[in-house]
Symmetry: C2
Subunit: 293 residues, 2 copies
DNA sequence: GCCATTCTCTGACTAAAGTCAGAGAATGGA
DNA sequence: TCCATTCTCTGACTTTAGTCAGAGAATGGC
């Protein structure tokens, strides 16, 4: 790790922490503890389950209960039973609560505006652009990968999105029946592996590895959600699958890909895959790659 | 104010606030309240006056005293009298205190590294670059301008730096004796104005306006410290002087400048100054500009 | 219908953070 | 030298934040 970079990150964090502190201080203007203000924010216009609130704010259930009692006593929140599960409870803002939420929103806006205000329009654009970039890469760092069954909800969601996407991108469209889609069993250890990438709980990518024989594996279904592209998700999925392959004693990985997926070709080349002769009769494949681990 | 930009800033702040929260939580690992940890940080290797600590952390004097008592009791800090003023007290870290400071520093490093770690080297560079840009513009927004006498310490400091700089940049060097330097009185209301720009208390730029006659003023000594360039300091100084000129009923502003100061020419042109015929016999001037307010 | 589990609430705490008034020491200028 | 001012400390608080154990209601699977 480059220590100059670490120092830059620290310097950045320090400065931004001051600004965040200013924001929270401004919230106190409304004469309510910060914990309650944060809770109003987190409940939001849509309301939220208590369980979700606890998770997102990291609160003890007793403490949350008390905070909600206080907000309820002030007429800002109502807590009711969940329709489908009587143990669950759901908090929603009353009309007065929504007014408060709006007031906090305006305080946030004011602080944001005060950062932009002294700058001219070119500087504002650059600041906002740089903030978007920081946000993007910080988010990228929060992407988490995990092995799981291709039958899981999130895996299915990724695969459906993947198939929908290639159907529009492949010149000849895509018909799953013509593609020898591996069964769930073939993508479950020890015959194969399936990786799901998640960002803040939402699935944003996937990838699979299918064992072909004792020494060979095949990479399939590497996909990244449009919202998460450019964050290196596919690269990390690939690394994770390669790690599994190594652990399983595989020596060679191969894959095939359609000519329309140019960004995939670039990724595979960069990761050390060499283009080789056709090894499959996949009607949608135009390129075949191989890598020795 | 562009509300889409405001929303981008809010979204950025929200994400970064989470990370800052993570940092502070990691400080708690060391089994010490956050207030004390922050205090250790703020005292730093050089020590600090209690007054400065109170200002920087926004603490009540009683509260600070108590925090210091606790740190002293744990052998991390020593508080002694200031040599020059017996009312003031100065806190310094003991050797153990410095060890603790180092430990907190490593926690900060670890969090910074955890942001970089999942990224590849190109992404890291972009993240760090964007952070530097955000930092730069946030700092730019904190630059504060004030009118004051050119005899003040900070004004002198700026002027000295300005003269040193032009002496190296002008082809023919610079001899103050040959330049009809306005007296302090000529740069003090109602005959003139002097603006100092400060960033976190440090002077980082200046500019002057001298009344020539009832309708005309002359801009002089517009300078920005090298550390603060690219932040629009000179532009803001100029605007401030123009505001003073308008308030004083001046109609025309003029200025002369040396051919070596190309960035100044660009600024003046952008701000609506037209190049005009020579109006002074300043031996260091090559260009003359004018603007009707 | 039974029972382990899940979810939330209450009571009884502790610790941290912050406030306020006033005392006492040191200073600086009249 | 005197006195208003500055700076810090102590005592006596309040509020906010957070923890823990246990009770009670609802659920889901058997």
């Amino acid at each position: 790790m480059d220590s100059a970079q670490v120092q830059r990150v620290r310097s950045f964090s320090r400065l931004v922490a001051q600004r965040i502190g200013a924001l929270e201080e401004s919230y106190l203007q409304r004469g309510r503890p910060l914990g309650e203000a944060r809770l109003i924010f987190e409940i939001g216009l849509d309301g939220a389950d208590l369980r979700a609130l606890r998770d997102r704010l990291g609160l003890d259930s007793g403490y949350l209960s008390r905070l909600l009692n206080s907000l309820t006593a002030h007429g800002l929140v109502e807590v009711g039973r969940d329709a489908s599960d009587g143990r669950l409870r759901r908090a929603v803002l009353t009309p007065n609560g929504r007014v408060e939420l709006g007031a906090y929103g305006r305080l946030s806006d004011a602080l944001a505006a005060s950062m932009l205000e002294p700058l001219d329009s070119r500087q504002r654009e650059r600041l906002v652009g740089a903030m978007a970039e920081v946000e993007r890469f910080l988010r990228a760092g929060r992407v988490e990968l995990s092995f799981e069954t291709p039958a899981s909800d999130d895996a299915r969601q990724c695969l459906d999105a993947y198939f929908r996407e290639i159907a529009t991108r492949f010149e000849a469209g895509f018909d799953p029946a013509q593609d020898r889609t591996p069964s769930d069993g073939e993508l479950t250890p020890p015959k194969g592996w399936f990786v799901v990438a998640r960002l803040e709980g939402e699935p944003v990518g996937c990838g699979a590895l299918k064992r072909v024989d004792d020494a060979t594996g095949e990479i399939k279904r590497v996909w990244t959600a449009p919202s998460a592209r450019g964050l290196g998700v596919a690269r990390r999925v690939l690394h994770k699958l390669e790690g599994a392959a190594r652990d399983a004693g595989l020596i060679t990985l191969r894959l095939d890909t359609n000519k329309a997926l140019t960004e995939a070709h670039a990724l595979y080349r960069k990761e050390g895959y060499r283009e080789v002769e056709r090894f499959s009769h996949n009607p949608y494949a135009h390129h075949w790659f191989e890598k020795r681990l």
